[in-house]
Amino acid sequence: MTAPLLNVRGLCKHFGGLSANQDVSFAVGRGEIVGLIGPNGAGKTTLFNCLAGFYPPSGGTIEFDGETFAQLTPERAAKRGIARTFQIVRTFASMTACENVMVGAMMRNKRVAEARKLATDTLAFVGLTGRATSIAGTMTVAEQRRLEIARALATGPKLLLLDEVMAGLNHTEVREAANLVLRIRERDIACVIIEHVMEAIMPIAHRIVVLDAGRKIADGPPDAIARDPAVLAAYLGD
């Protein structure tokens, strides 16, 4: 078996006395879709921020694509191939949709014309072609979430961290988003998805990792997770 794309071992993150992540270990294979679920405050977003270089971990190791990360910054994470979206959308609000994606494309290629071409293709991939010249700040939240995905994809990542991209979307939009994730997977990009919308994540994920109070309590295929007593206890209370 080949080494996984991402291998997290014993990751800890403390904020003062508060332990947001405690000894979390899991792996993500190439092109794998992993759902990251857990009750509010379980430490999902903190884990994302550690993986994407926004927080320095308090302990543990992150191995990505055969390299062990030390002193990871967001810029370095991006350049090595980890792209992300944000829980609260952070598009470049004054720029057009196309320009937003172009900035992402420029990480690998600084030529404006080529960045524009890649951005146009990527916007088409996420289904935003008609909005290319719209100012990002004027777009709906659903559109801005897709725009964030396009911007992240334009950096040419190997791993995409999606933070609640389906939150606040209606049924059709959720289905579209799930489809988009499957099509991203076809490009051989692995996805780790934080999601509360279970009916969206369960059918598309290969594996689910469950966090509760900063610790991993379960890790397995979706149908096993749905029956896992520890998971049920965490969600429904003992």
Binding site: E75, A78, F92, S94, M95, M102, V103, M107
Partner: protein
């Protein structure tokens, strides 16, 4: 688009023939003042407008430009043309040295730090005898002509030099705006964290912005010294100058190419009008009007005049364009 180009061409032609249209030296001097502050505003805009790092200490770079070329001329007899480049170089070094720690600060805190640094520099120069202290430095009239960058018979050469300087500065901004740097600067201004997540090293690109901005600002400082033939800390490094530089860009429209030029026209007009109306007794009236303008822009038109113009365009022009594309796309 074509209408815009024709308008631009008309402005260019007008700018080129202006010296033969004006009636007297004081009107020409007024035009020179407009171009000078416009040039500084365009230079400021690279850092404050595009990259969103509002500096209220740009007079420091202006003063460094003025003092460097002047002192090189007085001590070593170096041509002010070369001194101008040297001044730009010193300003860049200074900018990088202050940018390194200050770019850790965000928003208002960065602006406050720039005020403090410019103020400190002004106090240091005021107490530095080698640089003339509070008395200032006078430049020799001896080498009049193009090689000496001194013109005592007519001010027309000054007009064309500052016009060229303004065009150079606008050209530099234009190149930045169109390159990946322009996109990166705007991304940093909009959402710094998101910019980092797509590989943009914030400090690196902020330093590039301040380097370009300070270099171009310092060129204007040298021009000031050569035009006035006298510099002192109060005229080249004052906080009021820093604010004026920022204000022309903010009033005209931050992050737009031509905005600072429009801002300069309006601001200089206000300054001259209050001076003419109130004379010596009305000192400070222009400051009151500036304050009102800042409040007005901040509350009603954060995009400045250029931003206001753009919304007008969008309101009247883009619905037509959008209508056209819609008919194409709907089955």
């Amino acid at each position: 688009m074509t209408a815009k180009r024709i308008a631009l061409l008309a402005v260019m032609v007008l700018a080129l023939v202006l010296p033969s249209l004006v009636a007297n030296t004081s009107q020409l001097n007024y035009a020179i003042l407009v171009l000078m502050i416009a040039q500084a505003g365009v230079a400021w805009n690279i850092l404050g407008g595009y990259a969103g790092q509002v500096s209220l200490g740009h007079a420091a770079f202006y003063g460094i430009g003025a003092y460097t070329s002047t002192q090189l001329l007085l001590v070593f007899g170096l041509s002010p043309w070369l001194g101008m480049l040297a001044g730009g170089g010193v300003a860049v070094l200074f900018a990088l040295a202050i940018g390194w720690p200050c770019f850790r600060l965000k928003g208002h805190y960065f602006a406050m730090a720039t005020i403090a640094i410019a103020e400190i520099l002004q106090i240091v120069v005021t107490n530095w005898d080698w640089l003339g202290g509070a008395v200032g430095l006078s430049l020799p009239l001896a080498e009049a002509g193009w090689s000496g960058f001194v013109f005592n018979k007519s001010k027309v050469p000054y007009y064309y030099i500052v016009l060229a300087l303004l065009l150079l500065t606008i050209g530099a901004s234009w190149l930045i705006e169109r390159s990946f740097l322009g996109y990166y600067f705007r991304a940093i201004k909009d959402e710094p964290d998101a910019a980092r997540s797509i590989g943009i090293d914030l400090k690196r690109y902020k330093l590039i912005a301040i380097a370009a901005s300070s270099f171009l600002t310092a060129l204007g400082g040298t021009f000031y010294a050569q035009k006035e033939l006298f510099i002192d800390p109060g005229s080249t490094m004052a906080t009021s100058l820093s604010i004026k530089i920022a204000l022309v860009a903010i009033l005209g429209g931050v992050g737009t190419l031509g905005g600072p030029v429009i801002g300069a026209l309006i601001l200089t007009a206000i300054e001259e009008a209050t001076r003419a109306t109130f004379g010596g007794t009305g000192r400070g009236t222009d400051l009151i009007i500036y304050a009102l303008l800042i409040i007005g822009v901040a509350v009603f038109y954060p995009g400045g005049i250029a931003g206001w113009w753009r919304t007008l365009e969008q309101r009247w022009l883009e619905p037509k364009l959008a209508g056209r594309t819609n008919t194409k796309e709907t089955p």
